[in-house]
Protein backbone atom coordinates (compact mmCIF):
# COMPACT_ATOMS: atom_id res chain seq x y z
CA UNK A 1 0.00 0.00 0.00
CA UNK A 2 1.24 3.48 -0.82
CA UNK A 3 1.02 6.15 1.90
CA UNK A 4 -1.72 7.85 -0.14
CA UNK A 5 -3.78 4.66 -0.10
CA UNK A 6 -3.36 4.33 3.65
CA UNK A 7 -4.48 7.91 4.11
CA UNK A 8 -7.46 7.41 1.79
CA UNK A 9 -8.48 4.35 3.81
CA UNK A 10 -8.27 6.39 7.00
CA UNK A 11 -10.22 9.29 5.50
CA UNK A 12 -12.79 6.81 4.21
CA UNK A 13 -13.38 5.39 7.71
CA UNK A 14 -14.13 8.82 9.10
CA UNK A 15 -15.28 10.78 6.06
CA UNK A 16 -17.67 8.40 4.32
CA UNK A 17 -20.61 9.04 6.61
CA UNK A 18 -19.94 12.78 6.82
CA UNK A 19 -20.06 13.17 3.06
CA UNK A 20 -23.06 10.84 2.76
CA UNK A 21 -24.85 12.95 5.38
CA UNK A 22 -24.06 16.19 3.53
CA UNK A 23 -25.18 14.70 0.21
CA UNK A 24 -28.44 13.38 1.71
CA UNK A 25 -29.19 16.80 3.12
CA UNK A 26 -28.53 18.28 -0.30
CA UNK A 27 -30.27 15.77 -2.57
CA UNK A 28 -32.80 14.07 -0.22
CA UNK A 29 -31.91 10.89 -2.08
CA UNK A 30 -30.07 8.23 -0.07
CA UNK A 31 -29.05 5.99 -2.95
CA UNK A 32 -27.80 8.94 -5.00
CA UNK A 33 -25.92 10.28 -1.95
CA UNK A 34 -24.15 6.94 -1.46
CA UNK A 35 -23.40 6.46 -5.14
CA UNK A 36 -21.80 9.87 -5.57
CA UNK A 37 -19.83 9.53 -2.33
CA UNK A 38 -18.57 6.19 -3.63
CA UNK A 39 -17.67 7.88 -6.94
CA UNK A 40 -15.76 10.62 -5.12
CA UNK A 41 -13.65 8.11 -3.18
CA UNK A 42 -13.02 6.11 -6.36
CA UNK A 43 -11.83 9.33 -8.01
CA UNK A 44 -9.55 10.06 -5.02
CA UNK A 45 -8.02 6.59 -5.26
CA UNK A 46 -7.37 7.25 -8.93
CA UNK A 47 -5.88 10.74 -8.76
CA UNK A 48 -4.38 11.26 -5.28
CA UNK A 49 -1.54 8.73 -5.63
CA UNK A 50 -0.11 10.86 -8.50
CA UNK A 51 -1.39 14.38 -7.71
CA UNK A 52 -0.93 14.12 -3.95
CA UNK A 53 -3.61 14.39 -1.24
CA UNK A 54 -5.26 17.83 -1.29
CA UNK A 55 -4.92 20.11 1.77
CA UNK A 56 -8.62 19.78 2.52
CA UNK A 57 -9.43 16.20 1.54
CA UNK A 58 -13.02 16.24 2.85
CA UNK A 59 -13.81 19.46 0.99
CA UNK A 60 -12.31 17.97 -2.18
CA UNK A 61 -14.40 14.81 -1.77
CA UNK A 62 -17.57 16.78 -1.04
CA UNK A 63 -17.14 18.97 -4.10
CA UNK A 64 -16.43 15.93 -6.26
CA UNK A 65 -19.46 14.11 -4.84
CA UNK A 66 -21.70 17.10 -5.50
CA UNK A 67 -20.53 17.37 -9.12
CA UNK A 68 -21.19 13.66 -9.54
CA UNK A 69 -24.68 14.13 -8.09
CA UNK A 70 -25.44 16.89 -10.57
CA UNK A 71 -24.13 14.72 -13.44
CA UNK A 72 -26.17 11.76 -12.37
CA UNK A 73 -29.32 13.83 -11.90
CA UNK A 74 -28.83 15.39 -15.32
CA UNK A 75 -28.51 11.97 -16.88
CA UNK A 76 -31.58 10.71 -15.02
CA UNK A 77 -33.43 13.80 -16.31
CA UNK A 78 -34.33 14.89 -12.81
CA UNK A 79 -36.86 17.64 -12.82
CA UNK A 80 -35.26 20.96 -13.67
CA UNK A 81 -36.27 22.71 -10.46
CA UNK A 82 -34.61 20.16 -8.20
CA UNK A 83 -31.46 20.10 -10.29
CA UNK A 84 -31.21 23.85 -10.13
CA UNK A 85 -31.62 23.74 -6.38
CA UNK A 86 -28.69 21.36 -5.91
CA UNK A 87 -26.51 23.19 -8.43
CA UNK A 88 -27.23 26.57 -6.87
CA UNK A 89 -26.87 25.46 -3.26
CA UNK A 90 -24.03 27.11 -1.43
CA UNK A 91 -21.05 24.82 -1.60
CA UNK A 92 -21.43 22.69 1.53
CA UNK A 93 -18.29 23.06 3.62
CA UNK A 94 -17.36 20.09 5.74
CA UNK A 95 -15.08 20.88 8.63
CA UNK A 96 -11.40 20.27 7.92
CA UNK A 97 -10.29 16.69 8.33
CA UNK A 98 -8.89 16.16 11.79
CA UNK A 99 -8.01 12.73 13.07
CA UNK A 100 -10.41 11.67 15.85
CA UNK A 101 -12.33 14.89 15.46
CA UNK A 102 -14.38 15.85 18.51
CA UNK A 103 -16.43 18.41 16.56
CA UNK A 104 -20.18 17.80 16.62
CA UNK A 105 -21.15 17.02 13.11
CA UNK A 106 -23.75 16.12 10.54
CA UNK A 107 -23.42 12.39 11.27
CA UNK A 108 -25.71 12.83 14.24
CA UNK A 109 -28.67 13.60 11.99
CA UNK A 110 -27.89 10.54 9.94
CA UNK A 111 -27.70 8.41 13.08
CA UNK A 112 -31.13 9.44 14.33
CA UNK A 113 -32.65 9.00 10.89
CA UNK A 114 -31.17 5.51 10.44
CA UNK A 115 -32.49 4.52 13.88
CA UNK A 116 -35.98 6.01 13.48
CA UNK A 117 -38.42 3.75 15.35
CA UNK A 118 -40.79 3.62 12.36
CA UNK A 119 -38.16 1.39 10.70
CA UNK A 120 -37.91 -2.19 11.92
CA UNK A 121 -34.80 -3.08 13.88
CA UNK A 122 -33.18 -5.08 11.05
CA UNK A 123 -33.61 -2.10 8.75
CA UNK A 124 -32.16 0.29 11.36
CA UNK A 125 -29.09 -1.89 11.79
CA UNK A 126 -28.55 -2.35 8.05
CA UNK A 127 -28.95 1.37 7.31
CA UNK A 128 -26.57 2.32 10.12
CA UNK A 129 -23.88 -0.03 8.84
CA UNK A 130 -24.26 1.10 5.25
CA UNK A 131 -24.63 4.86 5.70
CA UNK A 132 -22.63 5.48 8.88
CA UNK A 133 -20.03 2.73 8.88
CA UNK A 134 -19.61 2.71 5.10
CA UNK A 135 -19.78 -1.09 4.96
CA UNK A 136 -20.74 -2.62 1.63
CA UNK A 137 -23.97 -4.56 1.22
CA UNK A 138 -21.89 -7.75 0.84
CA UNK A 139 -20.01 -7.10 4.11
CA UNK A 140 -23.23 -6.42 6.04
CA UNK A 141 -24.83 -9.54 4.57
CA UNK A 142 -21.86 -11.65 5.70
CA UNK A 143 -21.94 -10.17 9.21
CA UNK A 144 -25.62 -11.09 9.63
CA UNK A 145 -25.47 -14.39 7.75
CA UNK A 146 -28.06 -13.49 5.14
CA UNK A 147 -27.67 -13.68 1.35
CA UNK A 148 -26.34 -10.49 -0.22
CA UNK A 149 -29.51 -10.18 -2.30
CA UNK A 150 -31.68 -10.24 0.83
CA UNK A 151 -29.55 -7.53 2.46
CA UNK A 152 -29.69 -5.47 -0.73
CA UNK A 153 -33.49 -5.65 -0.71
CA UNK A 154 -33.61 -4.80 2.98
CA UNK A 155 -31.50 -1.68 2.42
CA UNK A 156 -33.50 -0.71 -0.64
CA UNK A 157 -36.81 -1.01 1.21
CA UNK A 158 -35.46 0.91 4.20
CA UNK A 159 -34.28 3.82 2.03
CA UNK A 160 -37.62 3.84 0.21
CA UNK A 161 -39.47 4.01 3.49
CA UNK A 162 -37.32 6.90 4.73
CA UNK A 163 -38.04 8.85 1.55
CA UNK A 164 -41.70 7.95 1.09
CA UNK A 165 -42.91 8.06 4.68
CA UNK A 166 -41.43 11.49 5.36
CA UNK A 167 -38.95 10.43 8.07
CA UNK A 168 -37.24 13.72 8.91
CA UNK A 169 -33.47 14.05 8.49
CA UNK A 170 -32.63 15.69 11.80
CA UNK A 171 -31.74 15.27 15.42
CA UNK A 172 -35.13 15.03 17.17
CA UNK A 173 -36.27 18.06 19.16
CA UNK A 174 -35.74 17.96 22.92
CA UNK A 175 -39.23 16.66 23.74
CA UNK A 176 -38.75 13.61 21.49
CA UNK A 177 -35.17 12.90 22.52
CA UNK A 178 -35.97 10.77 25.59
CA UNK A 179 -37.85 8.29 23.40
CA UNK A 180 -35.52 8.45 20.38
CA UNK A 181 -32.07 8.30 21.95
CA UNK A 182 -32.57 4.79 23.41
CA UNK A 183 -33.24 3.48 19.88
CA UNK A 184 -29.87 4.81 18.70
CA UNK A 185 -28.09 3.38 21.74
CA UNK A 186 -29.84 0.06 21.25
CA UNK A 187 -28.67 -0.19 17.63
CA UNK A 188 -25.08 0.70 18.58
CA UNK A 189 -25.01 -1.91 21.34
CA UNK A 190 -26.60 -4.48 19.05
CA UNK A 191 -23.86 -3.85 16.46
CA UNK A 192 -21.26 -4.29 19.16
CA UNK A 193 -22.78 -7.55 20.37
CA UNK A 194 -23.10 -8.87 16.83
CA UNK A 195 -19.33 -8.53 16.49
CA UNK A 196 -18.35 -9.55 20.01
CA UNK A 197 -16.43 -12.77 20.45
CA UNK A 198 -16.04 -13.42 16.72
CA UNK A 199 -12.56 -12.58 15.36
CA UNK A 200 -14.08 -12.34 11.87
CA UNK A 201 -16.43 -9.57 12.94
CA UNK A 202 -14.30 -7.28 15.10
CA UNK A 203 -15.05 -4.50 12.59
CA UNK A 204 -18.61 -4.36 13.97
CA UNK A 205 -17.30 -3.72 17.50
CA UNK A 206 -14.86 -1.09 16.26
CA UNK A 207 -17.59 0.70 14.26
CA UNK A 208 -20.02 0.62 17.19
CA UNK A 209 -17.38 2.19 19.45
CA UNK A 210 -16.44 4.76 16.80
CA UNK A 211 -20.09 5.80 16.33
CA UNK A 212 -20.63 5.97 20.08
CA UNK A 213 -17.66 8.37 20.24
CA UNK A 214 -19.28 10.55 17.57
CA UNK A 215 -22.51 10.51 19.57
CA UNK A 216 -20.91 11.38 22.92
CA UNK A 217 -18.76 14.12 21.37
CA UNK A 218 -21.92 15.74 20.02
CA UNK A 219 -24.10 15.03 23.08
CA UNK A 220 -21.70 15.22 26.02
CA UNK A 221 -24.56 15.75 28.48
CA UNK A 222 -26.47 12.56 27.70
CA UNK A 223 -25.47 10.12 30.43
CA UNK A 224 -26.90 7.08 28.65
CA UNK A 225 -24.78 7.86 25.56
CA UNK A 226 -21.70 8.01 27.79
CA UNK A 227 -22.93 4.81 29.37
CA UNK A 228 -23.14 2.85 26.13
CA UNK A 229 -19.63 3.98 25.13
CA UNK A 230 -18.28 3.01 28.56
CA UNK A 231 -20.05 -0.35 28.41
CA UNK A 232 -18.60 -1.21 25.00
CA UNK A 233 -15.07 -0.08 25.91
CA UNK A 234 -15.13 -2.17 29.09
CA UNK A 235 -16.33 -5.31 27.30
CA UNK A 236 -14.02 -4.78 24.34
CA UNK A 237 -11.01 -4.42 26.64
CA UNK A 238 -11.51 -8.01 27.78
CA UNK A 239 -12.47 -9.52 24.45
CA UNK A 240 -9.24 -11.44 23.75
CA UNK A 241 -9.22 -13.47 26.98
CA UNK A 242 -12.71 -14.96 26.65
CA UNK A 243 -11.56 -18.09 24.84
CA UNK A 244 -8.28 -19.97 25.11
CA UNK A 245 -5.99 -21.00 22.24
CA UNK A 246 -8.09 -24.11 21.66
CA UNK A 247 -11.29 -22.03 21.41
CA UNK A 248 -12.64 -23.18 24.80
CA UNK A 249 -14.57 -20.71 26.95
CA UNK A 250 -12.55 -19.18 29.81
CA UNK A 251 -14.57 -18.13 32.86
CA UNK A 252 -14.16 -14.55 33.99
CA UNK A 253 -12.49 -15.77 37.19
CA UNK A 254 -9.89 -17.73 35.22
CA UNK A 255 -9.06 -15.06 32.63
CA UNK A 256 -5.55 -13.61 32.46
CA UNK A 257 -6.17 -10.08 33.66
CA UNK A 258 -2.73 -8.89 32.57
CA UNK A 259 -3.94 -9.35 28.98
CA UNK A 260 -6.83 -6.92 29.41
CA UNK A 261 -6.51 -3.50 27.79
CA UNK A 262 -5.81 -1.36 30.86
CA UNK A 263 -6.04 2.00 29.08
CA UNK A 264 -9.43 1.13 27.64
CA UNK A 265 -10.69 -0.08 31.03
CA UNK A 266 -9.53 3.16 32.64
CA UNK A 267 -11.30 5.20 29.96
CA UNK A 268 -14.49 3.14 30.27
CA UNK A 269 -14.55 3.37 34.05
CA UNK A 270 -13.96 7.15 33.96
CA UNK A 271 -16.74 7.64 31.39
CA UNK A 272 -19.07 5.56 33.53
CA UNK A 273 -18.33 7.66 36.60
CA UNK A 274 -18.80 10.87 34.63
CA UNK A 275 -22.21 9.63 33.45
CA UNK A 276 -23.38 8.48 36.88
CA UNK A 277 -22.44 11.82 38.44
CA UNK A 278 -25.32 13.35 36.46
CA UNK A 279 -27.68 11.33 38.68
CA UNK A 280 -29.83 10.12 35.82
CA UNK A 281 -28.96 6.43 35.93
CA UNK A 282 -30.24 4.36 33.05
CA UNK A 283 -29.81 0.78 31.86
CA UNK A 284 -26.65 1.47 29.83
CA UNK A 285 -24.91 3.26 32.71
CA UNK A 286 -25.83 0.53 35.19
CA UNK A 287 -24.57 -2.21 32.87
CA UNK A 288 -21.39 -0.20 32.37
CA UNK A 289 -20.99 0.18 36.14
CA UNK A 290 -21.33 -3.59 36.53
CA UNK A 291 -18.76 -4.16 33.78
CA UNK A 292 -16.46 -1.64 35.51
CA UNK A 293 -16.71 -3.54 38.81
CA UNK A 294 -15.49 -6.66 37.04
CA UNK A 295 -12.88 -4.97 34.90
CA UNK A 296 -11.24 -2.94 37.66
CA UNK A 297 -10.96 -5.75 40.22
CA UNK A 298 -7.24 -6.64 40.46
CA UNK A 299 -8.13 -10.33 40.92
CA UNK A 300 -11.37 -12.28 40.64
CA UNK A 301 -11.41 -12.65 44.44
CA UNK A 302 -11.36 -8.84 44.81
CA UNK A 303 -14.60 -8.42 42.84
CA UNK A 304 -17.09 -6.29 44.75
CA UNK A 305 -20.04 -8.66 44.39
CA UNK A 306 -22.20 -6.82 46.91
CA UNK A 307 -22.01 -3.68 44.78
CA UNK A 308 -22.71 -5.69 41.63
CA UNK A 309 -25.77 -7.27 43.28
CA UNK A 310 -26.98 -3.77 44.22
CA UNK A 311 -26.47 -2.51 40.66
CA UNK A 312 -28.44 -5.47 39.29
CA UNK A 313 -31.26 -4.73 41.75
CA UNK A 314 -31.32 -1.13 40.49
CA UNK A 315 -31.25 -2.35 36.88
CA UNK A 316 -34.13 -4.75 37.60
CA UNK A 317 -36.20 -1.87 38.98
CA UNK A 318 -35.69 0.16 35.77
CA UNK A 319 -35.74 -2.70 33.34
CA UNK A 320 -37.47 -5.73 34.85
CA UNK A 321 -36.73 -8.96 33.05
CA UNK A 322 -35.78 -12.57 33.72
CA UNK A 323 -32.21 -12.23 32.37
CA UNK A 324 -31.50 -9.33 34.72
CA UNK A 325 -32.94 -11.39 37.60
CA UNK A 326 -30.75 -14.32 36.62
CA UNK A 327 -27.63 -12.14 36.69
CA UNK A 328 -28.71 -10.63 39.98
CA UNK A 329 -29.00 -14.14 41.44
CA UNK A 330 -25.42 -14.91 40.35
CA UNK A 331 -24.14 -11.73 42.02
CA UNK A 332 -26.11 -12.48 45.21
CA UNK A 333 -24.67 -16.00 45.29
CA UNK A 334 -21.16 -14.54 45.15
CA UNK A 335 -21.89 -11.85 47.75
CA UNK A 336 -24.06 -13.78 50.20
CA UNK A 337 -23.67 -17.44 49.23
CA UNK A 338 -25.66 -19.90 47.13
CA UNK A 339 -28.39 -20.37 49.75
CA UNK A 340 -29.36 -16.70 49.47
CA UNK A 341 -29.46 -16.86 45.66
CA UNK A 342 -31.42 -20.10 45.17
CA UNK A 343 -34.85 -18.55 45.89
CA UNK A 344 -34.16 -15.85 43.27
CA UNK A 345 -33.26 -18.49 40.67
CA UNK A 346 -36.30 -20.60 41.55
CA UNK A 347 -38.51 -17.54 41.01
CA UNK A 348 -37.01 -17.02 37.54
CA UNK A 349 -37.41 -20.73 36.75
CA UNK A 350 -41.03 -20.68 37.97
CA UNK A 351 -41.84 -17.82 35.60
CA UNK A 352 -41.10 -20.25 32.75
CA UNK A 353 -39.77 -17.42 30.62
CA UNK A 354 -36.23 -18.76 30.42
CA UNK A 355 -37.03 -22.47 30.06
CA UNK A 356 -35.06 -22.62 26.82
CA UNK A 357 -32.12 -20.54 28.03
CA UNK A 358 -29.14 -22.75 28.85
CA UNK A 359 -27.64 -20.25 31.29
CA UNK A 360 -30.69 -20.50 33.58
CA UNK A 361 -30.13 -24.23 33.94
CA UNK A 362 -26.34 -23.89 34.15
CA UNK A 363 -26.61 -21.25 36.89
CA UNK A 364 -29.15 -23.25 38.84
CA UNK A 365 -26.94 -26.33 38.51
CA UNK A 366 -23.99 -24.36 39.84
CA UNK A 367 -25.93 -23.11 42.89
CA UNK A 368 -27.29 -26.60 43.63
CA UNK A 369 -23.76 -28.04 43.33
CA UNK A 370 -22.43 -25.44 45.76
CA UNK A 371 -25.17 -26.26 48.29
CA UNK A 372 -24.30 -29.96 48.04
CA UNK A 373 -27.45 -31.03 46.17
CA UNK A 374 -25.54 -33.09 43.61
CA UNK A 375 -28.42 -35.09 42.17
CA UNK A 376 -30.51 -32.01 41.41
CA UNK A 377 -27.41 -30.24 40.10
CA UNK A 378 -26.81 -33.11 37.67
CA UNK A 379 -30.36 -32.80 36.30
CA UNK A 380 -29.88 -29.09 35.72
CA UNK A 381 -26.46 -29.56 34.09
CA UNK A 382 -28.07 -32.06 31.71
CA UNK A 383 -30.85 -29.58 30.86
CA UNK A 384 -28.22 -26.89 30.20
CA UNK A 385 -26.19 -29.29 28.06
CA UNK A 386 -29.20 -29.99 25.83
CA UNK A 387 -29.71 -26.26 25.20
CA UNK A 388 -26.16 -24.85 25.06
CA UNK A 389 -25.56 -23.37 21.60
CA UNK A 390 -21.76 -23.67 21.26
CA UNK A 391 -19.35 -26.58 21.59
CA UNK A 392 -17.18 -24.47 23.92
CA UNK A 393 -20.09 -24.19 26.36
CA UNK A 394 -21.13 -27.83 26.01
CA UNK A 395 -17.61 -28.99 26.70
CA UNK A 396 -17.47 -26.81 29.82
CA UNK A 397 -20.79 -28.22 31.07
CA UNK A 398 -19.73 -31.83 30.44
CA UNK A 399 -16.65 -31.14 32.57
CA UNK A 400 -18.77 -29.80 35.43
CA UNK A 401 -21.16 -32.75 35.23
CA UNK A 402 -18.26 -35.22 35.34
CA UNK A 403 -16.78 -33.47 38.40
CA UNK A 404 -19.94 -33.88 40.51
CA UNK A 405 -19.54 -36.25 43.47
CA UNK A 406 -21.01 -39.70 42.77
CA UNK A 407 -24.73 -39.89 43.56
CA UNK A 408 -26.29 -42.76 45.37
Amino acid sequence: MTPERDLIAEIYADGWSRIVAIMIRLTRDWSLAEECTQDAFARALHTWPTSGVPDQPLAWLTTTARRRAIDRMRRAATEAAKLKEVAAAVEPQPPPYVRDSQIPDERLELMFTCCHPSLNLDAQVALTLRSLAGMSTAEIARAFLVPERTMGQRLFRAKQKVAHAGIPFRVPPAHLLPERLPAVLHVLYLLFNAGYGDPQKTRLCAEAIRLARVLTAAMPDEPEALGVLALMLLHDARQTTRVDAAGALVLLADQDRTQWNAAQIAEGAALCERALRRRRAGPMQLQAAIAACHATAPTAADTDWAQIAGLYAHLASLHPGPVVELNRAVAVSMADGPEAALPLIEAVAASGRLDDYHLLHATRADLLRRTGRAAEAADSYRAALRLAPTEAERSFLRGRLADLPPQS
Partner: protein, 113 residues
Protein backbone atom coordinates in the same frame (compact mmCIF):
# COMPACT_ATOMS: atom_id res chain seq x y z
CA UNK B 1 -46.72 15.92 3.48
CA UNK B 2 -50.13 14.33 3.40
CA UNK B 3 -51.00 11.18 5.28
CA UNK B 4 -54.07 8.99 5.32
CA UNK B 5 -54.72 8.13 8.94
CA UNK B 6 -56.67 4.88 9.16
CA UNK B 7 -58.44 4.55 12.49
CA UNK B 8 -59.04 0.91 13.42
CA UNK B 9 -60.53 -1.04 16.29
CA UNK B 10 -58.49 -3.70 18.08
CA UNK B 11 -60.86 -6.39 19.40
CA UNK B 12 -57.96 -8.14 21.17
CA UNK B 13 -57.18 -5.19 23.47
CA UNK B 14 -59.05 -4.43 26.68
CA UNK B 15 -57.68 -1.46 28.60
CA UNK B 16 -57.64 -1.85 32.38
CA UNK B 17 -60.22 0.67 33.51
CA UNK B 18 -59.76 4.33 32.70
CA UNK B 19 -56.43 4.72 30.92
CA UNK B 20 -56.80 8.50 30.57
CA UNK B 21 -57.32 8.41 26.81
CA UNK B 22 -57.97 11.83 25.30
CA UNK B 23 -61.39 12.93 24.03
CA UNK B 24 -62.03 12.67 20.31
CA UNK B 25 -63.85 16.01 20.06
CA UNK B 26 -60.87 17.77 21.66
CA UNK B 27 -58.59 16.04 19.17
CA UNK B 28 -60.70 17.12 16.19
CA UNK B 29 -60.93 20.70 17.46
CA UNK B 30 -57.16 20.90 18.05
CA UNK B 31 -56.13 19.38 14.72
CA UNK B 32 -58.70 21.35 12.72
CA UNK B 33 -57.52 24.51 14.47
CA UNK B 34 -53.89 23.85 13.55
CA UNK B 35 -54.79 23.14 9.94
CA UNK B 36 -53.43 19.60 10.29
CA UNK B 37 -56.68 17.67 9.83
CA UNK B 38 -57.98 18.36 6.32
CA UNK B 39 -60.98 16.05 6.63
CA UNK B 40 -62.11 12.91 8.36
CA UNK B 41 -65.12 10.66 8.81
CA UNK B 42 -66.31 7.72 10.84
CA UNK B 43 -67.34 4.76 8.72
CA UNK B 44 -69.86 1.97 9.37
CA UNK B 45 -68.49 -1.40 10.55
CA UNK B 46 -67.21 -4.20 8.33
CA UNK B 47 -70.62 -5.93 8.48
CA UNK B 48 -72.03 -3.05 6.43
CA UNK B 49 -69.22 -3.21 3.85
CA UNK B 50 -69.59 -4.29 0.24
CA UNK B 51 -66.56 -5.50 -1.66
CA UNK B 52 -66.49 -4.87 -5.42
CA UNK B 53 -64.34 -6.71 -7.97
CA UNK B 54 -64.50 -6.71 -11.75
CA UNK B 55 -63.25 -10.00 -13.22
CA UNK B 56 -63.58 -10.73 -16.95
CA UNK B 57 -65.72 -7.61 -17.24
CA UNK B 58 -68.16 -9.02 -14.72
CA UNK B 59 -68.89 -7.11 -11.52
CA UNK B 60 -68.54 -9.43 -8.52
CA UNK B 61 -69.84 -8.33 -5.15
CA UNK B 62 -69.11 -9.70 -1.71
CA UNK B 63 -71.01 -8.91 1.45
CA UNK B 64 -68.42 -7.78 3.99
CA UNK B 65 -64.82 -6.51 4.06
CA UNK B 66 -62.19 -7.60 1.56
CA UNK B 67 -59.58 -8.73 4.05
CA UNK B 68 -60.10 -11.05 6.99
CA UNK B 69 -58.16 -9.05 9.55
CA UNK B 70 -58.59 -8.55 13.24
CA UNK B 71 -58.42 -4.77 12.86
CA UNK B 72 -61.49 -3.10 11.43
CA UNK B 73 -61.50 0.35 9.96
CA UNK B 74 -63.68 2.62 12.05
CA UNK B 75 -62.82 5.86 10.31
CA UNK B 76 -60.15 7.88 8.62
CA UNK B 77 -58.62 11.33 8.61
CA UNK B 78 -56.45 13.14 6.12
CA UNK B 79 -53.54 14.96 7.72
CA UNK B 80 -51.21 17.63 6.43
CA UNK B 81 -47.99 17.36 8.44
CA UNK B 82 -44.41 18.57 8.14
CA UNK B 83 -43.04 15.04 8.41
CA UNK B 84 -43.63 11.60 9.90
CA UNK B 85 -42.63 12.74 13.39
CA UNK B 86 -45.45 15.29 13.41
CA UNK B 87 -47.91 12.74 12.02
CA UNK B 88 -46.90 10.26 14.75
CA UNK B 89 -47.48 12.89 17.45
CA UNK B 90 -50.90 13.72 15.98
CA UNK B 91 -51.87 10.03 15.76
CA UNK B 92 -50.68 9.33 19.30
CA UNK B 93 -53.04 12.00 20.62
CA UNK B 94 -56.09 10.34 19.02
CA UNK B 95 -58.16 8.30 21.50
CA UNK B 96 -58.29 5.34 19.11
CA UNK B 97 -54.50 5.02 19.32
CA UNK B 98 -55.04 4.29 23.04
CA UNK B 99 -57.66 1.58 22.63
CA UNK B 100 -57.40 0.63 18.97
CA UNK B 101 -54.78 0.95 16.25
CA UNK B 102 -53.87 3.76 13.91
CA UNK B 103 -52.08 3.29 10.62
CA UNK B 104 -50.37 6.17 8.86
CA UNK B 105 -50.03 5.96 5.08
CA UNK B 106 -48.16 8.66 3.21
CA UNK B 107 -49.88 9.93 0.08
CA UNK B 108 -48.23 8.87 -3.16
CA UNK B 109 -47.59 12.13 -5.03
CA UNK B 110 -49.15 12.20 -8.50
CA UNK B 111 -45.84 13.18 -10.16
CA UNK B 112 -43.93 10.17 -8.79
CA UNK B 113 -43.90 6.65 -10.24
Amino acid sequence: MRYLMLVCTDPTYRPDGDDGAPDVDDWVAEMDGKGIRLMGERVRPASDATTVRVRNREVLLTDGPYAETKDHIAGFDILECADLDEAIEVAAKHPMAWGGVIELRPFWPADED
